[in-house]
Subunit: 408 residues, 2 copies
């Protein structure tokens, strides 16, 4: 059912899509309408309207019924058209390194549930997809389903799946093994779920989710940074996910902090990731005489005010703030959101980040950006997959946009 | 005549605009058409079409004529509608620090001329506007006008003016003096030219112009850096100028290169501008034992292969490349364009820039960006003003988009 919008479609294709969107919007706003009503309200001719409606019925987006029979002069009941209540459901899946996360929304675009399960890092793709399918089935059967108007999550009525995966998604033909593995993934998913699949980097999807449902739901220009085993992020520009040419954007973790620094897994030198990944932070912490051996211990030590832990967070925050300042000068986001496991350190991390950020921003810009902690947790990327579907599907692209100053 | 598109307009306003665009696109593509033809080709009902056409005629975008009289059964001649050939003209003005640049396009969106004149830095706004008006009048009377199909540039038929000004444009109410001065500028321009005015930072406009007509006309994701008395730039994202929240984007010159460096005019410390502005470059050059006293002498020394000049360009290029790498990691543009007076140094500057850029990009991204020298020169920002009008006006937004991989 899903056919994504493309900026460079011809004007007449765009015109047809705008007609489809207008019809869907009228049905969304007014409920069931007759073809005559739709024609009047949309300004489309009968012929055009019939053509557009036929396409929407054919795709399953619109259903024909006579819920409130009216009798016209000649005695024939008036057919009413309405949105297919089963058609708007969307699912997000996040294939993280060692876990699968899923989430689903109903037709009202309410999140009806999410689920997660860990797995070994070497689990193969068919087994990961099986796991995702099983997790989604638990949502369909789960207690949350009882509250829904139409009774159950119809996985067989999904319009599309938004999927997050680890690592940058570059051109097909890249020599990176994970990119090759991912080449076959959309096909596997399409075969299993029978619907179109939209794929993006899972950290970028977390950025989109924070801008739609999370810490930056009031802003349409958002910089999201995730501090985890890797350091990455994403940009939301004007309410839409920014991908960049060849998908290589939001790679904040590979911005150079120290050209003479340590080698990074990306092949570069002195990247932010070599200073701010979980491993790098724990390494710095142990070098500073910290006692705790793992992240939980480190976070607990920081919460207790242990000096080596706080010092390390201060230094990490300073590095992170400097990189964020450079990106903010270039992009000018309204909100910076910090997520990932390290964000659990709270103000002990965020305050140094904000201090370094503001200090390195030009004075004119210093008070035009907020720094906030991410709110969506581990379900963020799966929710971002849903947001991707909602934003890119012509059926669903009227999903409420993040509030901006203009429409607040 | 101009009414800008707003992302957050309601769906029915958007629908009306898409109808207007469809009608204008059909007239642009097919030439004069009757209302009946327009109705058939657009799919709009007669009622809607008449309403849309009435609005377009009222705004002056469309004219009614009977260029090829056809006689219908009842003997009444068929009115043909066509685009108003005088209505589509747009003008760009760049109010630089010490000069005014203007440029104009005809209805076919061909640049018919540009003109410039220097002035003292303290010239007041009414006098600058007079100067712009006089320069535009020379275009209207100039030899270029003879080549045009309709004979003369009708300044009184302008649809809009795109204007570039120096400095960041932040919220009204900012305490910066130049922002206050600019508050009254749109009114002064509107009074003088009698048409809507679109205002933006002139360096950002140069970025847009390079992406539409210049060095990056084949790319829709462009990073433009200007190395001049100040250091600034702009981002074109998906073929559109990226402004950022509160207009504070593209400020590459105020990205920190050395937190312990020299104070910058922006109030910050160690910004790229303190190392790569013309003054900073000439200062470094003289400190290195360079003999030439001004930019022309410096550029000439570099062209002659003088060691101190080349060393300075190497160091500036390294600083610039490092900042560009950080922004490219975040934004992922396909093309980086370097403009401003220092770009005249050519490969002696651009090669070190590119070397540092690639060295600090993550290996996966190294070959996904081109570095090019700007091609539009001092008229760039005025041309960008035109591009702004062409992109933001519903009348003109079908101006050919930059070619991308999808539509190449």
């Amino acid at each position: 059912m899903l056919s994504c919008m493309h900026e460079h479609d011809g004007p007449l294709t765009r015109l047809r899509r705008s007609h489809e969107q207008a019809v869907l919007e009228l049905l969304r706003r007014h409920g069931p309408l007759s073809r005559a009503d739709l024609s009047t309200r949309s300004g489309l001719s009968r012929t055009t309207l019939h053509d557009i409606v036929a396409g929407l019925v054919g795709s399953g987006s619109v259903v024909v019924g006579t819920p409130h029979v009216e009798v016209r002069k000649r005695g024939r009941p008036v057919e009413k058209l309405s949105l297919n209540p089963a058609a708007g459901e969307a699912v997000g899946i996040d294939f993280a390194r060692r876990a699968v996360h899923v989430a689903a929304v109903n037709f009202a675009h309410e999140v009806i549930g999410s689920a997660s399960e860990s797995h070994p890092a070497d689990l193969n793709w068919p087994e990961r997809i099986d796991l995702a399918h099983r997790l989604l089935a638990t949502l369909a059967a789960g207690p949350a389903a009882d509250d829904r108007r139409d009774g159950a999550v119809h996985l067989d009525a999904l319009s599309a799946i938004g999927v997050g995966v680890v690592g940058p998604l570059t051109d097909p033909g890249s020599e990176k093994a994970h990119a090759q593995a991912i080449d076959g993934l959309p096909d596997l998913l399409r075969k299993r779920f029978g619907v179109p699949v939209l794929l993006d980097n899972n950290t970028r999807l977390a950025a989109l989710a924070e801008a739609v449902w999370g810490a930056a739901a009031d802003s349409s220009d958002v910089l999201y940074l995730r501090l985890s085993h890797g350091v990455g992020g994403g940009l939301v520009v004007g309410g839409a996910l920014h991908r960049g040419r060849n998908g290589l954007s939001g790679e904040f973790g590979h911005i150079t902090v120290d050209p003479a620094g340590r080698p990074c897994d990306c092949g570069g030198t002195g990247c932010l990731e070599t200073r701010a990944s979980l491993d790098a932070v724990l390494y710095r912490y142990r070098e500073s005489g910290g006692r705790a051996g793992d992240l939980a211990g480190f976070l607990s030590a920081a919460a207790d005010g242990e000096r080596p832990a706080l010092d390390v967070l201060e230094r990490v925050g300073s590095d992170v703030g400097g990189v964020l300042a450079a990106v903010c000068q270039a992009v000018g986001p309204g909100v910076v959101v910090i997520g990932g496991e390290l964000a659990a350190a709270g103000p002990a991390l965020l305050e140094p980040v904000e201090r370094a950020l503001r200090q390195q921003l030009m004075p004119l810009a210093r008070h035009h950006v907020d720094v906030r902690r991410a709110t969506l947790g581990e379900a963020g990327s799966a929710l971002g997959g849903i947001a991707l579907v909602l934003h890119e599907s012509p059926l669903l692209s009227h999903y409420p946009q993040p509030v901006t100053e203009e429409n607040a």
